[in-house]
């Protein structure tokens, strides 16, 4: 499916070509679910393109789809053509970035593939984190940006507190919950990860879709208690912490989100995603405010 993207916006002049990633992680339609899990883990991507032998794009398999296959009890040697979602959505390198964003926002998709000639063959992929990087670079180049104004801009960035940017509220499960229950929660709330608490309510771990698909690859029964696969410790930040420090913490831990607590680590009050943080840093002027990305899901 081709979406012609030709609207004008505040990022006029910035095209998909400047933001897209040229390395498209792809597998053949006959590749297995196990191979897809290995590729998502190794290449650290959230989705893979499924192709025919002639490189025509047939569909997309995301971590959510792989988690769904686990939940449904599909064997690890299931071919990707049985679990993929298709056809992939395409834009073109010359399309404007803001219009591509609008398409992603309106269709609630996290990525668009990029095609040239011949159509239907992916030459790149455009996902939110790629756009965040370009917006940040764009902001540095922009004459109006506060960040460009030397010390004043940087001071301002340092003064931004985590609570101003975080998403309030948090989804949590007890450590005795089964992987089934956690998968249901992640799917229903369109989340990438959940907090795990002890029976006394103390945060003890985090479980992401990556942890769940690895449990699938390791052939763990889905009724296994989540405590057996959770990541510890909970990487968290105090809500009054500077956004700058929180960003550094996320980059260091190679994670996409931080749980945010108020005064004591037991009191988790929200989640800060790297997209939230980088988006905030991508400009505070009117032009950029109008172009901030709304990532799908709560």
């Amino acid at each position: 499916m081709l979406l012609r993207v030709d609207q004008k916006g505040v990022l006029t002049g910035v095209t998909v070509r400047e933001a897209m990633r040229r390395q498209v992680v792809h597998l053949l339609q006959t590749a297995t679910v196990a191979q897809a899990i290995r590729s998502t883990v190794k290449f650290k991507v959230n989705a893979l393109l499924v192709e025919a032998p002639d490189r025509r794009a047939l569909g997309v398999v995301s971590k959510t789809d792989l988690m769904g296959a686990y939940y449904a009890g599909l064997p690890l040697d299931t071919p990707l053509e049985a679990v993929m979602v298709g056809p992939p959505l395409f834009c073109r390198p010359e399309d404007s970035l803001d219009a591509a964003l609008e398409v992603m926002r309106s269709l609630r998709v996290h990525r668009l593939y990029v095609e040239e000639e011949p159509p239907g063959v992916a030459v790149g992929v455009l996902a939110y984190p790629d756009i965040v990087g370009v917006l940040y670079r764009f902001c540095h180049r922009c004459r109006r940006t506060l960040l460009k104004k030397g010390e004043r801009g940087l001071d301002l960035a340092n003064q931004v507190r985590v609570r101003e940017v975080m998403t309030p509220g948090v989804a949590a499960f007890p450590e005795s919950a089964s992987l089934y229950e956690v998968m249901e929660g992640l799917a229903a709330q369109r989340l990438a990860a959940v907090l795990i608490r002890t029976s006394q309510g103390r945060p003890v771990g985090v479980v992401s879709k990556t942890d769940l698909i690895l449990a699938y690859l390791h052939e763990m029964p889905p009724d296994t208690p989540v405590r057996e696969i959770m990541q510890q410790p909970v990487v968290a930040v105090e809500q009054e912490e500077a956004l700058e420090a929180a960003l550094r913490q996320m980059i260091f831990a190679d994670i996409h989100r931080l749980f945010v607590y108020k005064e004591r680590p037991e009191v988790v009050v929200g989640v800060l995603s790297l997209s939230d943080a980088a988006r905030f840093r991508s400009g505070t002027c009117r032009a950029c405010l109008a172009s901030r990305i709304k990532v799908g899901g709560p």
């Binding site: 650290k44 390791h218 960003l247 980059i251 996409h256 840093r281």
Partner: protein
């Protein structure tokens, strides 16, 4: 058969299990290098029955080390990244070999002709090929070993050359 994989394969080889961590795999690379006197940058992965199930190469490990958000922190040059490499390596070291190994296996048989072996290595961009016969691993062919073998052939009946050896010392 003359000039086949059998002539160049190493019959002493080391293997990993899918359940090993990448940290253990790195240790195995070092120890295998010490034992064989040549640097090891990749190994075969076998299951509990000794059946070949994957290959782990330095590229698989480098991909596991590369941070997910490197494209972002490339933009954020004002961030202090000191200590990042150590932390990233610690995280990658905890992954299992079976989580990142390559399972699209390319193998040869002991009688596969050496020119076919060279063709496969060039076309598939691989530096090592397991030699398998009826499901049993017999050895491994290294690109460097193939080249050593070729060097002998390339220099056969070569007249004296007057090449130069530059030694600034």
């Amino acid at each position: 058969m003359a000039d086949s994989a059998r002539q160049v394969m190493d019959t002493r080889f080391f293997t990993l299990r899918p359940g090993h961590t990448l940290g253990q795999a790195a240790r195995a690379f070092v120890e295998a290098g010490e034992a064989t006197g040549r640097r090891v940058f990749g190994m075969m992965v076998v299951d509990h029955q000794g059946k070949l199930v994957g290959m782990l190469s330095l590229y698989d490990i480098l991909l596991a080390i590369r941070p997910k958000h490197i494209h972002l922190w490339g933009e954020m040059q004002d961030l202090d990244l000191e200590g990042l490499l150590d932390r990233t390596c610690r995280q990658a070291a905890a992954l299992r070999v079976g989580d990142v190994m390559t399972t699209d296996l390319i193998t040869v048989e002991p009688d596969t002709h050496l020119l076919r072996v060279i063709d496969l290595m060039l076309k598939k961009h691989v530096r090592r090929l397991p030699v398998v016969e009826q499901g049993r691993i017999l050895g491994i062919v290294y690109l460097s070993r193939v080249f050593e073998y070729l060097l002998d052939r390339l220099t056969v009946s070569l007249p004296e050359c007057d090449w130069e050896c530059v030694d600034p010392a």
